[in-house]
């Protein structure tokens, strides 16, 4: 049995993960054509590479179908309840950095904090007859954050992409999304609440606590750990 390593199958996240492992003497590559989701591992024996969408890696780790996986903190914490019990953080990879934040229209000059958002939500509900809508794909993280902060009279609406556009389109009044430079937010005339930082995320290597390990895979795991430290 080999040690299964899950890595994002596309784009910069994949390339940067490959070069992060390369620096540590483990060469990962896509086998065959660019369209094929099979991988090759050189420089270490007993590791097999599984290319997956970053969003599926938390679930695969939690199901124990992969032993190690690279994905963002945001996805692990959103998708896995009690994530600490299912996965262990091995190493932060130093890229893919992004903050999960709450943003409102920049023209809301009276709203800077969660406190303001809560007051605006109460008045909004009275004026419009429905709760203030916050567009996001991070339902659990956002709800827990707002519950903890005691914000009321809001509703979460699902947005799986182009979330920044929901405000202009009037399908939401505010958003909760990840941002790295804030460029897209500014371009869409949005601003971040001063206390609206929910989570700081980056690409991270995780180890599954629930996957089964035999003597071989334990030995391979400890060799991988040696290379990474």
């Amino acid at each position: 049995m080999s040690l299964k390593l899950g890595v994002p199958s596309k784009g910069r996240l994949m390339e940067k993960t490959f070069s992060w492992f390369e620096k540590r003497g483990i060469t990962l590559s896509r086998s065959g054509s660019d369209r094929e989701y099979a991988g090759k591992v050189e420089g270490i024996d007993g590791v097999s590479l599984i290319l997956l969408s970053a969003g599926e890696i938390p679930r695969e780790l939690a199901a124990g179908r992969i032993h190690l996986g690279v994905t963002g903190t945001d996805l692990v914490q959103e998708k896995l309840p009690r994530w600490e019990q299912q996965v262990e953080q091995v190493s932060k990879l130093g890229f893919g950095k992004a903050d999960l934040i709450i943003a409102t229209p920049a023209c809301w000059v009276d709203v800077d904090t969660l406190d303001d958002l809560d007051a605006a939500a109460a008045a909004f509900r009275k004026a419009h007859g429905h709760r203030l809508r916050i567009a996001t794909k991070y339902h659990r993280l956002v709800r827990e954050f707002l519950t903890e902060a005691g914000v009321a009279d809001y509703t979460l609406v699902d947005s799986q992409g182009a979330t920044e556009g929901t405000v202009v389109n009037e399908t939401a009044e505010a958003i909760a999304d990840i941002t790295s430079t804030g460029e897209t937010l500014r371009a869409n005339h949005l601003k971040i609440l001063t206390d609206g930082l929910i989570l700081q995320s980056q690409a991270t290597l995780w180890r599954s606590r629930v996957a089964s390990y035999n003597d071989d895979s334990k030995a391979v795991l400890s060799e991988v750990m040696d290379r990474l430290s």
Binding site: C107, D110, D112, R143, E144, G150, L156, H189
Partner: protein, 362 residues
């Protein structure tokens, strides 16, 4: 662990006892319209209830409790006065604690009666105590109505009082608001500049979204007005603080609260109701001398209760949720009653937990 048929048998037995006390059996549907529950509890309910949907009826929730459907049923077709009992499963999504059940049986008793609210409070509590007799339980009681009266009688603006009332059930935000209104917490940076500006909306950012400029202006106006409002006095603040910390047996709690009423005279009618309740409980044979009363009880978990609240807890099993809970929810009948309202009080018991405690004892 008790099995399902044991739990059902116990539930049926308790429901029969509630029937004998004069209640009519009701059996609300398992699926409830999500919108009503969301309006009532806010987005938090999504973390606690299972949501499903179809194209015709939209989002539905597996009932997280019986109170809402029973109140709705009574408000649309019930005769007065009315007493109801029910037993059946409720469903609670569990995301953090695998030891908590996501499906369990509740047996309940609800009273809708305009006469003698103190008597109805005592009736429900003593019936519950009777059903639970012999188990090693500790009863806790409280009264949300006292805190409500204290807030509504503060010498400050209606806007501030409404904001505090809105967060009565969120102690943390309540405290933040209170500190701000007492002048102990400054507003966010740059707030004064904004409020001093002649035309605060004259920026170079475009107006986007459904919240209109007039709404932003209205809030700025409200913030300006609030800045000119004198802080809530130290006396009132200290009174609230003392009130929230009262934790005594019932007669002593009443005595301490009468002292608080020197600074907060607005709570006196609520205290008179508490006194009448104590007398009614006593008349029904409840030992009020040893019954605990906490003024802050029920503030975090029991959102729709607005008067008397109670719970029964297993001694020596702090891991278990309360075996029974209940209270008065007059405001809920107003919210769901389309203009009508009626004083209402009731509660639920969990037969599964009762059986578990009985097994422990053997």
């Amino acid at each position: 662990m008790p099995n399902r048929s044991q739990i059902q048998a116990r539930a049926a037995m308790m429901r029969v006892r509630f029937e004998a006390a004069g209640a009519q059996v009701v059996d609300p549907p398992l699926l409830q319209p999500a919108e009503t529950l969301l309006d009532l509890y806010g987005e938090d309910i999504r973390a606690r209830a299972y949501v499903t949907s179809d194209a015709l009826r939209g989002e539905q929730m597996l009932r997280p409790d019986f109170t809402m459907p029973v109140v709705q049923m009574h408000m649309s077709e019930g005769a007065e006065p009315a007493r109801y009992t029910y037993s059946g499963e409720v469903f609670r999504r569990q995301e953090h604690d695998p030891d908590r059940s996501n499906e369990y049986v509740q047996v309940g008793y609800e009273v809708f009666d305009r006469n003698d609210p103190a008597g109805a409070d005592a009736e429900v509590f003593s019936l519950f105590a009777l059903q639970l007799r012999g188990l090693p339980l500790r009863a806790a009681t409280g009264d949300i109505g006292i805190l409500t009266a204290a807030v509504q009688g503060l010498r400050t603006t209606d806007r501030r009082k409404a904001a505090l009332m809105r967060h009565l059930w969120r102690p943390r935000r309540f405290r933040i608001l209170l500190e701000r209104y007492a002048g102990r917490k400054p507003g966010p940076e740059g707030r004064d500049t904004l409020l001093d500006a002649e035309n605060p909306l004259d920026g170079d950012v475009p107006m986007i979204g459904k919240r209109r400029a007039s709404e932003i202006e209205a809030r700025i106006e409200a913030l300006r007005e609030d800045r000119e409002t004198p802080p809530i006095s130290d006396n009132e603040l200290a009174g609230l603080e003392t009130l929230l910390n009262v934790r005594e047996t019932m007669p002593f709690a009443l005595e301490q609260l009468r002292d608080v009423a020197v600074d907060l005279p607005q709570i006196t009618p609520a205290l008179n109701r508490l006194e009448a309740r104590i007398a009614s409980l006593q008349a029904r044979g409840v030992d009020v001398e040893t019954l605990d009363f906490e003024a802050a009880y029920g503030r975090t978990s029991m959102e729709y209760y607005d008067g008397f609240v109670f719970g029964f807890y297993a001694e020596g099993r702090p891991d278990l949720p309360p075996i029974a809970t209940g209270g008065r929810y007059d405001a809920l009948t107003r919210q769901l009653g389309n203009g009508a309202e009626i004083p209402a009080v009731g509660g639920v018991i969990r037969p599964d937990l009762m059986l578990e405690i009985e097994e422990d004892a053997q």
